[in-house]
Amino acid sequence: MGTILIVAEIQKGVIREASFELAAFAQKLAGSGHEVKSLVVGQGVKGLAEEFAQRGGGEVLVAEAEALANYSADAFTQATLAAVAASGADLVLISNTPSGWDFAPRVAAALDAAFVTDCFDVSDEGGAIGFKRRIFNGKLDAQVKATGTVVATVQPGATPAFEGSTEGKTTDLDAGIGECKTKFVEIKIAESKGVDLTKADVIVSGGRGLGAPEKFTEVVQPLADALGGAMGASRPVVDAGWLPHEYQVGSSGQVVTPKLYIAVGISGAIQHLVGMKGSNFIVAINKDPDAPIFEVADVGVVADLFDIVPALTAAVTAAKG
């Protein structure tokens, strides 16, 4: 029994889908007697706060200030702490987005609270809050228990957005934003370069399992060429400088939905999956039978990619006659 505070996130002038997912978790817990309140921060966000109040947010505290017009770790931390004090919340839910993971730990530390990150399930354990979260980049899951005041970040997409309505109201919150040392300067949008994977019907992506940059020209590109498709990559390939960033598929690369996606030597971390799981048909080739990529694949091959991919390239070439 307690109060949940949802920290909603505004992006490009609208409330993010992920905030309605937080509402879904909060409303699920409301079933076991928790009261749901929310926080909306920004400037000129009253209308959005009213919308959120009716779509799962419950009573919405609205903190408006010039310092909150753009994201800043200091200002958002202060606003959230003010909202926790005003609402008496003992569970704070924040989305695990680039801003969420930047300021949520500061809120938790300031409250000397339990802190659980990137969870995909929340439940009331009677006196404690239970969470499930991925560890080891998706290879294992952990069930954790948090006691006392709890701050948690939730993985976007972990649960469907709240679809019901709530009888909420909005209340102005004077967050009293003080000194902010982190200063927002600007957002730079990535300019799209030569490779636009979003238009390809077939993508063959290689991961760290390829082991060396030349394997992309020797093994991955020939299969992509044979299928008349494009080549993609996981992040470590780009980090290592083996391929430029425009080849990267995933949350910090491109989100693709080709007719056929072939993942080669890619384990299937969540940040990669969000970039390709919407593909029409997914083939995964990986020597580890427990690799999470097999969970989203339609067809899997548990084998050494250096055996399978050249054979597949030859078979595709032969089939074309």
Partner: protein
């Protein structure tokens, strides 16, 4: 300038992950460990600043005896000294417990910059660095993709989704948690490894740092109850056989999709 780098040692990315007897973590005996990949980028960024001017780079790690190896590697790459918090009393600490110890070191050392990794590859918490900053009264930024320093102001580019970047300014001292790929990490040279043997490594306990009562399972507010293999849904249809048999079957699937 003094730069502190927080390094965590984690199971090697190719290590077998077997669940431990008590079901609460993985079996850590007889597996290989390495420096958390994100932290290698953090260390490299610190060493780049040292190369470009004058800086003392101090590597800090909390963990058992095996962690000395990670710190030796950091010294071999060019760090000047190391601090190893080795304290059995810290077993079972949650992220906040770790952060309190690191914050105590930050207060003791008063560095101009603190570098950390965005996230640990084992627990995937992405929790400790901003907590350390909050507790030590420093501004912080995460998912940092570039760092430039001029007249006591740090300008960083933070990674957002889909390749967008957010430019943020912070005064020093501050803490930066770096994203992978912001630089190309150097290897320890043979000369570096030899020199590292003479570099100082301090060993401390949480009590030495005045936070003895705030760490360990007793103080933890978050407890891992169990770890388990994620429940497998329907999963993929597995294709088996020789490479040629597999290829033939895959070609059949691709034809069904009308792509051949």
């Amino acid at each position: 300038m003094k730069i502190l780098v927080c390094l965590k040692q984690v199971p090697h990315s190719d290590a077998r992950l077997d669940i431990a007897g008590d079901g609460k973590w993985i079996q850590e005996d007889n597996i290989k460990f390495e420096i958390n990949s994100y932290d290698t980028y953090a260390l490299e960024e610190a060493l780049k600043l040292k190369d470009a001017g004058e800086a003392e780079v101090v590597a800090v790690s909390i963990g058992p005896d095996r962690v000395t190896q990670a710190l030796r590697t950091a010294l071999g790459m060019g760090a000047d000294r190391a601090i190893h918090v080795n304290d059995p009393a810290m077993e079972g600490s949650d992220s906040l417990g770790i952060a309190k110890v690191l914050a105590a070191i930050v207060k003791e050392e008063s560095p101009d910059l603190v570098f950390a990794g965005l996230m640990s590859e084992d627990g995937n918490f992405a929790a400790v660095p901003p907590m350390v900053a909050q507790l030590a009264g420093l501004p912080s930024s995460t998912a940092v993709m570039s760092v430039s320093l001029a007249d006591g102001t740090v300008t960083v580019e933070r990674e957002l989704e889909g390749g967008a970047l957010e430019v943020v300014q912070l005064p020093t001292p501050c803490l930066l948690a770096v994203q992978s790929g912001l630089n190309q990490v150097r290897y320890a040279s043979l000369k570096g490894i030899m020199a590292a043997k003479k570099k100082p490594m301090d060993t401390k306990t949480a009590a030495d740092l005045g936070v003895g009562d705030q760490v360990g399972a007793g103080a933890a507010k978050v407890e891992i109850e169990k770890v388990y293999t994620p429940p497998r849904g329907e999963g993929a249809q597995l294709i088996e056989g020789s490479a040629d048999e597999v290829a033939t079957q895959l070609v059949g699937k691709i034809k069904e999709l009308g792509l051949l």
